[in-house]
């Protein structure tokens, strides 16, 4: 065996920018929160209504902001209409460009249907909230519950299209062996659910409800998502550990060859295990101790959001720095401008603005349940009336 030194090779820049991470993160939050809203909104489970209200707020805002990040990742964003003028049915990205607008429309219509009775009830309010309510409620006609459920079902179906295309789009790329595995799409979905549960815990805390039923439900889903993520990661590893080529071989090569990849792998593994352990701990405490412990569940929510975002960062950004036909790794420093830090901060800023605007002007706390549930008061729970400023403490 000879030893070789690479004397001369160009440096290859990354082709997908952090915008891609933002899109994959937000759209995963979007579809996962839709599924968390579904038990009450679509299937009429009244116990899930408080969770569904928070989830619908998260779902609508992430759904509105995610496509902005996606558009920004194009080097020619004004040519987005080419996706429709020259659609290519051979490309997963093209399929995604057809599914995404339908999904976005589905989520908007679903939120409108769920909020419409409350909008109709808010028409007498003074100021912008009343004005918006008069515009958006579109008349006095009834909003059949079954319509909420039907639109919800359709949007859930479209959301599986989003899960499939976002995963497949990356997983079919043979040119990047680390991506080229069937285990990547389910891992995107599992980490998406972990992050979405985290987001609801954080929103529950910031929104001032601190509802222990919501916390309990969301923690259970998070535990399940952690288990699935662990199973998927384990299957991915066992599936490829003996192969000379492929995703796992490339991962082992990277971990062997780079201290940064070693610390990334260690950090990812540890965070996952700690999160799973902490959620399990919270869920198995005696009922009497739960309220005190659940008050801190939002910190786990932040960890869960970190897991969801970092997984996408490592997969989409770090993998692009692994040289694929030259030696070693390419250097990538996050630029300060719009293709880097400004883009990341800007996307989150836009998202925050969307949440605040909805919170200020739309009656998301009174979202009505769909399905065949018995009628419930619009102002339920009683402590949250339309006019009163919610406690953000």
């Amino acid at each position: 065996m000879n030893s070789a030194i690479e004397l001369l090779a160009p440096r290859y820049d990354i082709a997908w920018y952090p915008w891609a991470v933002q899109y994959f993160f937000l759209i995963a939050l979007s579809y996962a929160t839709l599924w968390l809203a579904a038990p009450a909104l679509v299937f009429g489970k009244q116990r899930w209504l408080p969770t569904a209200r928070l989830a619908l707020l998260a779902c609508l805002t992430t759904t509105l902001v995610a496509p902005v990040a996606l558009l920004a990742d194009l080097h020619q964003p004004l040519r987005f209409w080419h996706f429709y003028a020259f659609a290519n049915s051979h490309s997963w990205m093209s399929i995604g460009s057809l599914v995404l607008p339908l999904y976005v429309a589905g989520v908007i219509v679903l939120a409108w249907l769920a909020w419409r009775p409350a909008l109709q009830a808010s028409r007498q309010l003074p100021g912008v909230a009343g004005l918006l309510a008069r515009w958006l409620s579109l008349g006095d006609g009834p909003t059949p519950r079954v319509l909420v459920a039907l639109v919800g079902l359709g949007t859930l179906a479209l959301s599986t299209g989003i899960m499939l295309y976002t995963g497949a789009e990356v997983a079919i790329v043979k040119g990047r062996p680390l991506w080229n595995t069937v285990w990547l799409p389910p891992m995107f979905v599992a980490t998406g659910f972990i992050a979405a549960c985290g987001l609801i815990l954080v929103l529950d805390r910031i929104g001032g409800r601190r509802d222990s039923i919501v916390t309990g439900q969301v923690l259970k889903v998070m535990l399940g998502a952690c288990l699935v993520a662990g199973l998927v990661a384990g299957s991915w590893f066992l599936d490829g550990v003996n192969a000379n080529v492929g995703s796992v071989a490339a991962a082992i090569e990277s971990v062997r060859g780079s201290a940064e990849w070693r610390s990334t792998a260690l950090w990812g593994g540890l965070t996952g295990v700690v999160l799973f352990g902490a959620v399990l701990y919270l869920l198995t405490r005696p009922v009497s101790r739960r309220p005190a412990l659940y008050a801190w569940a939002w910190t786990l929510g932040l960890v869960a959001l970190h897991v969801g975002w970092m997984f996408r960062w490592v997969v989409l950004m770090d993998v692009q720095t692994v040289a694929r036909h030259s030696a070693g790794f390419h250097h990538y420093g996050i630029p300060a401008g719009s293709s880097g830090i400004l883009g990341i901060v800007g996307t989150f800023g836009l998202w925050l603005a969307a949440i605040l605007l909805v919170d200020l002007f739309l009656p998301w706390r009174q979202a009505r349940q769909g399905g065949a549930a018995a009628d419930i008061s619009l102002t339920e729970p009683a402590s949250f009336d339309v006019e009163g400023a919610p406690s953000h403490g």
């Binding site: 690479e6 987005f80 290519n88 490309s91 036909h325």
Partner: protein
Amino acid sequence: MDSIRRSLLGQLARLSAGAALVPIASLASAGINDQPPRREGDSSKRYGMLIDLRQCIGCQACTVACHIENAAPLGSFRTTVSQYEVQHQESGEVATFMLPRLCNHCENPPCIPVCPVEATFQRQDGIVVVDSDRCVGCAYCVNACPYDARFINERTQTADKCTFCAHRLEAGLLPACVESCVGGARIIGDMRDPESQISRMLDEYRDELMVLQPEKNTLPQVFYLGMDERFVTRPDAEPVALEVLDPHGKEMGYEFRH
């Protein structure tokens, strides 16, 4: 990388070079990620390139000529020559290995089905091109190419790549890299014409030719003669061009460890 894997890959490389020479009528079908139909170009031709590494001296004349001909932005290359210092572990002898790289104009190009707007397509003569008026700059093709043959041109903000200098071929000229090669290492031609130099050389050296990353099943149409099978896949080499960063993490230049 262990030697068994290396020799397996080497055999695979030879086999695949052979397979790639078998004309495939059409890989097109309707499924997702299958090849869309080819369009434009002369269907009676199939361009390919043979690079005789025994003749390459690593002078980078091709790199420079291509850069001038195709006006690529500084730091982006449609073709370049990677260079490796190889040391024999027993004898300690040192030699330089040169590896010219460019788009392989694959028979099964992974960059084409991914394009969401069919801006990149394969002509009927096998040349893979990009319609930069249609390209949306999503960079999916850049990620899909295992050979790093594509880049986003910072001036046009669209995908850019080697076209075998199709504009020169159409004018009856040789591509800039072929024209400028001092050793005559690059041979381009119509592989459907049995009398062309490339066809004759493909016949003559069929068993010795190798292609890059054959395990990706891309069926590259750039064939290497005098190739070392250890460089067919990602080279197991020590990278020495290290970025030197200033205290703020900004790049200042390069240094060599050796």
